[in-house]
């Protein structure tokens, strides 16, 4: 049984990312279940931000960054923008625009679309299937959506409400059928609990009966071993 006062005593160090792995996991598992601790953590995170800002403003490095740094940033950012445009150019099919628009509206209402970058799946309405995932175990507030094209090998997972994991762990998606589970990939969530994953299923998505997300080591697992956090099926 987790002692609440013990967890509360660790929140400041959690905000600093100064906890050892076992205590990090204790706090991480506790937070989704305790609004009091989440509020306390928010105040410590705000404090950590102030310290970071104060330190940044007080720092006097011997020299500024070299001019080439800025140019590399702009060049790389431009390349990122070009890649996004290329995805749009490849996937768009105007004949399916109406159905795609309806799906986009639904995804936007579910707050999914803000971090889905590839619109390929938006364009192909035929064979599109949406699967809702609900939180399991200690993650009852989490949820996710999978959108797959059953005529293609592409899909996308979007999740919300999962806690950020330590550096040695990842969330892993599983595609299940006939008692077997195939990995759909590894992902992380951002500070706001949002995460997404582009899914590839070389044999297509037809026949999969269920999906789940578990917590696994950073390099992934051959089969689901860690705690289940999301599950659902078509």
């Amino acid at each position: 049984m987790i002692d609440h006062e013990e967890i509360k005593g660790l929140l400041a160090a959690y905000a600093l990312d100064a906890l050892d792995p076992d205590e990090f996991e204790l706090v991480r598992a506790h937070l989704p279940t305790c609004a009091t601790c989440r509020r306390e953590l928010t105040s410590y995170l705000h404090l950590t931000d102030l310290v970071a800002l104060g330190a940044a403003q007080a720092s006097s490095p011997p020299s500024p960054p070299r001019p080439g740094v800025e140019e590399r940033i702009i060049r790389e950012a431009s390349l990122m923008g070009a890649r996004r445009s290329m995805w749009i150019a490849r996937g768009w099919n105007p004949r399916r625009a109406v159905a795609a628009g309806a799906l986009i509206f639904l995804l936007a209402a579910a707050n999914v679309i803000q971090w889905v970058h590839s619109p390929r799946f938006e364009a192909q309405s035929r064979g599109l299937v949406t699967v809702a995932l609900t939180g399991t175990g200690g993650q009852r507030d989490a949820y996710g959506t999978i959108v797959v094209d059953t005529d293609d090998n592409d899909g996308v997972l979007a999740v919300r409400g999962l806690p950020k994991l330590g550096p040695d762990l990842r969330y892993q998606l599983w595609l299940k059928k006939g008692g077997e589970a195939r990995s759909g990939g590894l992902f992380v969530v951002n500070d706001d609990g949002y995460g997404s994953l582009l899914i590839k299923a070389p044999g297509g998505f037809r026949g999969f009966q269920a999906f789940s997300v578990t917590v696994e080591p950073a390099e992934g697992s051959e089969s689901p071993r860690g705690a289940s956090v999301l599950s659902g099926g078509p």
Binding site: A13, L53, A58, S59, P61, R66, E70, A77, G81
Partner: protein
């Protein structure tokens, strides 16, 4: 398009729309802050440049997820910079053999530097308040906090490095943060 009157939040919105000149302007405004913090943690110009690049590219990539009600842009950037620099330090696997009183180092550096006339007054005031608050902590609390904040050390690593019991280290970090929270409670950087 002129950006002199454009606030940081608007720059982020423009970055989310793919406008690289907004990114360039953001860099012009905050590169020194980001680079400075990374350098203070890593003490390595090249590594600090790498972190600086990483931070602004991350800001570019995540511009559409930035929420102004959670933190100001400069705070968001400082947070990313600290996290990235600590990740880099941990991957590098090196820790200072001796404790650094980073806050004393910065106070000494600031005392000998020329004031920056372009720095916003509120930024200088925040820096002074944070610095004053941290320097008011007992030395052992300040050391534990510095090790955690600037060197990315965990409780156990600090205990090992300082020879102090683990429980003592935990108490010192908690006490330091509680004290700072009390001293800086009126600093509403967040909206």
């Amino acid at each position: 398009m002129p950006h002199e009157a454009t606030d940081d939040t608007e720059l982020i919105r423009r970055m989310a729309r793919g406008e690289t000149h907004a990114l360039r302007e953001l860099y012009a405004r905050h590169a020194r802050l980001v680079y400075g913090l990374a350098w203070r943690i890593l003490l390595d110009n090249e590594a600090a440049e790498e972190i600086c690049q990483d931070v602004f590219l991350r800001a570019w990539e995540k511009a559409d997820t930035y929420r102004s009600e959670k933190a100001q842009v400069r705070t968001w950037l400082a947070r990313i910079a600290r996290n990235r620099a600590i990740d880099h330090l941990r991957r590098r696997g090196s820790h200072e053999a001796r404790a650094r009183d980073v806050w004393e180092e910065m106070r000494n550096a600031a005392a000998s530097a020329h004031p920056d006339p372009a720095a916003p007054v509120e930024a200088s005031q925040l820096r002074e308040r944070v610095s004053h608050a941290i320097l008011s902590l007992p030395p052992e609390q300040r050391e534990a906090l510095s090790r955690a904040f600037f060197q990315g050390e965990t409780h156990q690593q600090i205990a090992t490095a300082t020879g102090e019991p683990l429980g003592t280290v935990k108490s010192r970090i908690r006490a330091a943060m509680l004290r700072l929270r009390e001293l800086l409670k009126d600093d509403g950087d967040e909206r």
